[in-house]
């Protein structure tokens, strides 16, 4: 734990009203975040993405958030007006989403979308913003930024699209970045490239990172600390370097599901779930 706490979440709960009754997606999640890289790992439906969205106040309209505490620096995230939220989003907390194919507007040029993100929080002219956007495209290692700037999202590949996404979300210089499965939709070969670019930028700019993924190994190699979530609870919080000493049977089960290069080559064990895990 670093000395300065950036974000403090206590007892966060997110629930949705559906036609089949209420669904509790997140049930009492608490954590403190400094200028560090925190991984949130869990299977689909474990509430990891909803935790990320709740921090940005972007829970869907049929959902409700309760928390004892959601403090980001001096801002209480629980009681913000839409106007106050807009000052936080992008400028202070930003998010990278899963698939650039859907998360970029198909009828706007990439340049326009990046400029828009910058000018929302910096009162500058088009020329200055264009200059900054091209710089940002260079920073995510796009070789031909001038061309990409004028392109539409469908004209670039998935890996390049995700780099554009990173450029767009980092250009206002946020303090906290939430990366929600940023490489899951990409080819395995470009996943690591994109992760490396993201990792470099996070270090360079001294940002805090919440990295949401289902991939325990990817998370442990890019993060300092890992939260393991199961059915809306945090079942274990552990330093990434000490992952092999995990105590919770769910974490151990997840680790045992991964094939190892050395070691025996028998069938991988199947995770034996226990009802008590869900109670937290």
């Amino acid at each position: 734990m670093t000395s300065e706490t950036l974000l403090s979440v206590k007892n966060l709960a997110v629930s949705f009203t559906t036609s089949k009754g209420p669904v509790n997606a997140v049930r009492g999640v608490s954590f403190d975040l400094g200028r560090e890289r925190l991984g949130i790992v869990g299977e689909s439906g474990s509430g990891k993405s909803q935790t990320g969205r709740a921090i940005l106040g972007l829970t869907a309209a049929n959902g409700s958030i309760t928390a004892d505490k959601m403090q980001f620096h001096d801002v209480d995230l629980r009681h913000l007006s839409p106007k106050q939220w807009r000052k936080v989003r992008g400028a202070r907390i930003s998010m990278i989403m899963q698939d650039p194919k859907y998360s970029l507007n198909p009828v706007m040029t990439i340049g326009d979308q990046i400029i828009e993100a910058y000018r929302e929080h910096h009162k500058v002219g088009t020329k200055e913003a264009t200059h900054r956007a091209i710089e940002m495209l260079e920073a995510v290692k796009i070789r031909d930024p001038q061309r990409v700037f004028k392109s539409y999202p469908h004209e670039v590949s998935g890996g390049m699209g995700q780099r554009v996404m990173i450029a767009m979300m980092l250009i206002p210089d946020p303090e906290l970045l939430i990366a929600d499965e940023p490489t899951s939709a990409l080819d395995v070969t470009v996943q690591l490239q994109v992760m490396a670019i993201l990792d470099d930028l996070v270090r360079e700019r001294g940002m805090a990172l919440i990295f949401i993924s289902h991939d325990l190994h990817l998370v442990s190699s890019f993060c300092d600390r890992v939260l393991v979530m199961y059915q809306g609870h945090v079942v274990e919080e552990i330093r990434a370097s000490e992952l092999d000493q995990a105590k919770h049977p769910y974490t151990q089960g997840l680790l045992n599901c991964l094939p190892k290069m050395d070691g025996n080559h028998d069938d991988l064990p199947v995770l034996q779930r226990q009802a008590s895990w869900a109670e937290g």
Binding site: L56, P106, V107, M108, E116, A117, Y152, M165, M168
Partner: protein, 355 residues
């Protein structure tokens, strides 16, 4: 990787030659020509299949057989069918649809007189329908399930379910007779009709070209009620479609991404979402416009509007086949034209279609 690149690049170049901006416009033009040819074939066949003898229609049923045969030959009806079709296409391409029995004028001349009236009414109706319908639909989508949504739905339902002739008569009764806000039936007051130089046939344009502001406002006050009536129907349809397209777009990931950036809700709705909604909406608007361009018989009847719908209906009731077929070709050509326009607009609005 690098060894693959040249073949990929070559493939892309070839694909662009076939479907690049130039190529796609060429394809649109080709499809227009083929569709128009098909339209002519259909109208030609209808003309031949109908149990109306054009020779008798011309010479009357008391003519001698010699005269009948001579006229039949003059009309080219003794030729084989494919030659007749060739003659027909040739005539149409030269703007010759034959003479109308009812008006004893060339059909093209008649259509040039009635079509601008319909064009003016349909265009104004569509403009009002789009200006009011699109924002209404957006509002309904943004406030889904709340009172603006319900209000729009009820308003649209009334538009759908009221017979247009009843609404037209009520409109005349209230706004013309009781309130006297608008002028009555006709395109301008009868007193003015002869003063207008029919340069384009569009009253609103011609009166302005003449520089006569009084006449222009007179024409406006005549057209506003029937145009609003047509607009109401296209508005109900456009608003409904806008609402459903909008709801679909608002649930997309890029909207969430835009919210993450901290952009205003106004910009998210009107720039991000509507930019994507316009793509399918263009087709909807074009279809509704084309529908109005056919001429609305009921509206034209109630408002004594000398338009295409009234002309074709009158011709049909009088077995004036040249006029009916000529009118059909014009309506078909207008449909094709509007569709081509929407196709080109679609390419302009959606960068993915420009590939």
């Amino acid at each position: 990787m690098s060894s693959v690149t040249p073949t990929r690049r070559g493939g892309r170049k070839r694909a662009r030659l076939l479907s690049g901006p130039g190529g796609s416009i060429l394809r649109v033009v080709a499809s227009v020509i083929i569709t128009f040819f098909g339209l002519l074939l259909v109208t030609f066949l209808i003309g031949r299949i109908l149990p109306i003898d054009p020779v008798i229609a011309a010479v009357g049923d008391h003519a001698s057989e010699a005269i009948y045969n001579r006229v039949r030959e003059e009309m080219g009806l003794n030729l084989p069918l494919w030659q007749q079709f060739f003659v027909y296409v040739n005539n149409v391409l030269h703007g010759d649809f034959g003479k109308s029995i009812l008006t004893s004028q060339p059909v093209l001349h008649d259509i040039a007189r009635v079509f601008p009236a319909t064009l003016e009414l349909a265009t104004l109706g569509t403009i009002i329908g789009v200006i009011l319908g699109v924002p209404t639909g957006v509002l309904a989508a943004v406030h889904k399930g709340k009172w603006p949504d319900h209000l729009v739905r009820i308003f649209g339902l009334v538009g759908y379910s009221m017979p247009i002739f009843w609404l037209g008569l009520m409109g005349l009764l209230v706004f013309y007779m009781k309130l006297d806000w608008v002028a009555g039936p006709g395109r301008v007051d009868a007193f003015y009709a002869d003063f207008i130089e029919p340069t384009t046939g569009l009253m609103l344009v011609d009166t302005l070209l003449d520089g006569d502001i009084d006449l222009f406002w007179n024409a406006v006050s005549h057209i506003i009620l029937p145009a609003s009536l047509l607009a109401y129907f296209s508005l109900a349809y456009i608003a409904r479609m806008t609402r459903s397209f909008m709801l679909e777009q608002l649930s997309q990931e890029y909207i969430l991404a835009a919210r993450v950036k901290g952009i205003s809700e106004f910009r998210i709705i009107w720039r991000h979402a509507l930019g994507n909604v316009m793509v399918p909406l263009v087709t909807v608007i074009a279809l509704s416009y084309a529908n109005l361009l056919e001429g609305s018989v009921l509206t034209e009847t109630i408002f004594a509007w000398p338009g295409l719908g009234l002309y074709i209906t009158n011709s049909l009731l009088n077995a004036d086949m040249n006029a009916v077929l000529g009118g059909t070709v014009v309506v078909g050509a207008v449909f094709i034209g509007v569709n081509m326009l929407s196709d080109l607009l679609y390419r302009l609005l959606d960068p993915r279609a420009r590939r």
